[in-house]
Amino acid sequence: MRSDSDRYKSFTRRTAAVAGFKIALLSVLGARMYQLQVVQADRYATLAEENRINLRLLPPPRGRILDRRGRLLAVNRQNYRVLMTVERADAAKDTLDALGRFIFIGDGDRKRVLREIGRKRSFVPVTVRENLDWNEVATIEVNAPDLPGVTIDVGRSRFYPGNELAAHVLGYVSAVSEEELNGDPLLELPGFKIGKSGVEKVYDGLLRGTAGTSQVEVNAIGRIIRELSRQDGEPGWDISLTLDLDLQTFAAERIADESAAVVVLDVQTGDVLAIVSTPSFDPNAFNSGISTADWNALVNNVRSPLTNKAIAGQYSPGSTFKMIVALAALENGVASPEQTAFCNGKYEFGDGTFHCWKRSGHGRVDMVDAIAESCDVFFYDLSRRVGIDRIAEMAGRFGLGHDLGIDLPGERPGLMPTKAWKLAVQGVAWQSGETLVAGIGQGFVLTTPLQLAVMTARMVNGGRAIVPRITRREPNAEGSAELGEAEMSIGVSDAHLRLVRRGMDDVVNGPTGTARGVRVEGEALAFGGKTGTAQVRRISERERQIGVRKNEDIPWRTRDHALFVGYAPLAEPRYAIAVVVEHGGVGSAVAAPIARDILLEVQRLDPARSAPQPLALVR
């Protein structure tokens, strides 16, 4: 019994020890609970929220682009996509095979789908194909029972109904590149596209709108359980352009076969009614990702379809520049309106001989004749007496030699040389002979078709400094200050402008005008203008002697540019036009007929007098 009581004592002691040990361990558990749930509670509460709440962006629909009458130029088209969710598909491969019996699935797509299925979580749909047509959608819907896990989804993609039409103005949208990421999470959204050129680029911010957000609760595998809150974004603004779709279409078709540019302006408002550059490209091709071969074809094309020649093509203005020289002389008092000169076909100056395009000479010509017949000798003399700096100053007033600030990307300034410019850039003093060359719009002088159109508009609208614009603004909106400035006079006397305009009238309608061949009979639709032919390379003395001057005899790349600037109607001009046909040959033969046809069309359509659209920007 003694040992039994010893044993009991030992048991009691050790039980106490075990119990104490248990209490200690329970205290450890309690302490740990306190640590996690009280001391670190905030940290874990945050982690818990991060775990379950996912912020999703709701991309806003991109604003549309409309013409001046509200016709659609860029829209969002429903993009039917076929998706596959493997969670419900019995076997991805079988389903894909089944789907392949109804719609075409390329080998590349097939491989990509199987790869994505391997990578993504099973409930995330994988896009099999995009841009399905109605037939394909219908076929899939009808056969839905045989296609487990296959669904049709409607997304939005940018669509340009006119395809190549106005592509340079509208631009295109494409996937966001690495450099364009600026922290805006919207840009990081897969499949999000932004404007890469044209109006799409300039007004990208307005067109884009603001993203909405949706807070969703997700479970451990990322499936959305419910939406906790939703903040709708704002859709992008619609942008209404000054373009007239009909005129744009007409002009584009008229020069479709050329490498050319046409700009038609409203001379009172500066509205760009048509702006065409050919050849063009299809902006829709960029939307779904352009192939390398297609891209290379665009980039390597000698006619540079990606360049908007109307604002980025710089050409010698040729004889279309002569009105500037005339006005510079008149305004500076160097010549009187009655000024005459005798043209015997050449002009001796310094050690050189400067030829008139008409080898036999024009005889005695006054200023109106000189413009109508485009007498070089008259303008050699005039420009020599005015001097290059005053010519450049006058050119500047008409919008030449600097950016006009049109709301399109890629505008180039052209070049209006001065003595100071040459010394600064070339380090050589200005040669007097260069003034003569500049006086007939050759040599250093470079202009864009847009500048030539603006020049013409300012000449025939009474000398008001209209500014070209591609988007319509509300008359009372913030843009009105700009409009006030646009109505400012360029400070050239009305009498002088009228004199020059008489010359331009005679170019087409006069008995000896260079563009007499394209004149329009009848007062109502008649137009005036000025031809121009810009040399692309110097004509050597030898060539001049042997008489190789025919454009057809030399390669396309070295042929002359054909130019024409014009206006209509004659009495109260409302429209101005500039046409440049690259390597087209003689202005009167190539550019003038184009200008005539487009001016007839613009007068027929008369967009300037059509009822204005209420707003420039529409939601």
Binding site: T12, T15, R32, Q37, V38, R43, A48, E217
Partner: protein, 381 residues
């Protein structure tokens, strides 16, 4: 030495025995199980299906079984302790070698309503067998190494089987519970030192006999960080759920981490986390309080028993119960490595609940028969 079996208490009538059952313990068990039902209802997203309803049925069966066990004469358990142990060991070996269940992945035996995992039952029967053995030990025996070879084998048999699986959670529990009974029986402290040294010596040898995948599993067990998307991820999510519960929790059925399945195994091993997320520190400590009361009653009942078998049995059960809850709660709070040990009376699962209730049946039996004396040499005299 002659010790007559006290005949008085063997004459206790059925109703007297029923009266002797410690109903407070039964009540505490019901309360704990009730918490479990509530949590399973929550784990089922506010539904009795699929877990809570089945658990209630099992509890009904289990508590009946417990009362029956409690009413059975303590001497019966004494007499058949080794036999029961042997049956359990054979079952354990059977599922281990014969490969019951599909691919050996489910190591249980189907008893109709309840599917029994021999491993769970083993935890209780080991205590029973050890109590039976040490009942006869005197202070001199306890100082002899030879005397301890048999009980060491009793512990080592099932433990080795568990290591081979490898189910280290169960192995550790068996070893720890066995060790506790050794300690309580009065085995000299220096022996534990020797055992520890021997263990350290054996480990490297045993390591060689393990397959590559077994070694890998053991390494993952020892260092969950080596498997960040597996065990490590579970523990992080568990801590997030627990911590975000804060003082008073997110409310019943409002535990976001559990609801959204961030919490793994929320109805079984990680059910404590869900409780702590929905009811906070208050709920967690409340459950610990319930457990503490059960443990305290276990100790009290054991201390009041007249014979060594009853005392060791009672304390062995109590220790086993404690090991369950400590390992489980320690695991979900990131204090212990992830092992598959359920939270007693709360986790979904029939066997664990049954094993615990069988254990408590024996404890209650000890309480009912506290005055029963069993001779040192057993029942033969």
């Amino acid at each position: 030495m002659f010790e007559p079996i006290d005949s008085a208490e063997s004459e206790l009538s059925f109703f007297e025995k029923l009266w002797q059952i410690n109903w407070v313990v039964v009540l505490l068990l019901c309360a704990t199980a009730g918490v479990g039902f509530a949590m399973l209802y929550s784990a089922g997203n506010g539904s009795f299906d699929p877990w809570a309803s089945r658990q209630i049925v099992r509890f009904g069966i289990g508590i009946t079984m417990m009362l029956v066990i409690a009413l059975v004469d303590l001497k019966f358990w004494f007499r058949y302790a080794y036999a029961i142990y042997l049956v359990a060991l054979l079952l354990l070996a059977a599922v281990e070698f014969a490969g019951f269940g599909a691919m050996g992945a489910q190591r249980w035996i189907n008893l109709g309503v309840i599917q029994l995992q021999p491993a769970e039952v083993m935890k209780i029967t080991l205590v029973l067998a050890l109590a039976r053995y040490f009942h006869a030990a005197n202070m001199i025996d306890l100082g002899r190494i030879l005397y301890l070879i048999f009980p060491v084998l009793l512990v080592a048999g099932p433990t080795v089987l568990m290591i081979r699986q490898p189910d280290l959670g169960t192995a550790v529990m068996l070893a720890a519970a066995g060790g506790a009974v050794f300690f309580l029986a009065g085995v000299r402290l220096w022996m534990f030192g020797v055992a520890l040294a021997a263990l350290l010596a054996v480990v490297p040898v045993a390591w060689h006999f393990l397959h590559g995948y077994q070694k890998k599993r053991i390494l993952t067990f020892l260092d969950p960080g080596s498997d960040p998307l597996g065990a490590g991820y579970h523990i992080l999510q568990s801590k997030i759920a627990l911590g975000s519960g804060a003082l008073f929790g997110k409310g019943f059925l409002q535990g976001t981490q559990s609801r959204l399945n961030f919490l793994p195994e929320k109805q079984t091993d990680f059910i404590f986390t869900m409780l702590a997320e929905e009811f906070g520190l208050a709920g967690g400590l409340g459950l610990l309080g319930l457990y503490f009361l059960l443990l305290a009653y276990g100790v009290g009942i054991s201390l009041r028993a007249r014979c060594q078998f009853a005392r060791l049995l009672g304390m062995g059960v109590t220790v086993t119960f404690f090991l369950y809850l400590f390992i489980n709660i320690g695991m979900v709070m990131g204090l212990l490595p992830v092992v598959g040990v359920p939270l007693p009376m709360i986790s979904y699962g029939g066997t664990a609940m049954l094993a615990v209730l069988i254990g408590f049946g024996l404890l209650l039996c000890v309480g009912v028969h506290r005055d029963t004396r069993i001779g040192r040499r057993g029942l033969t005299e």
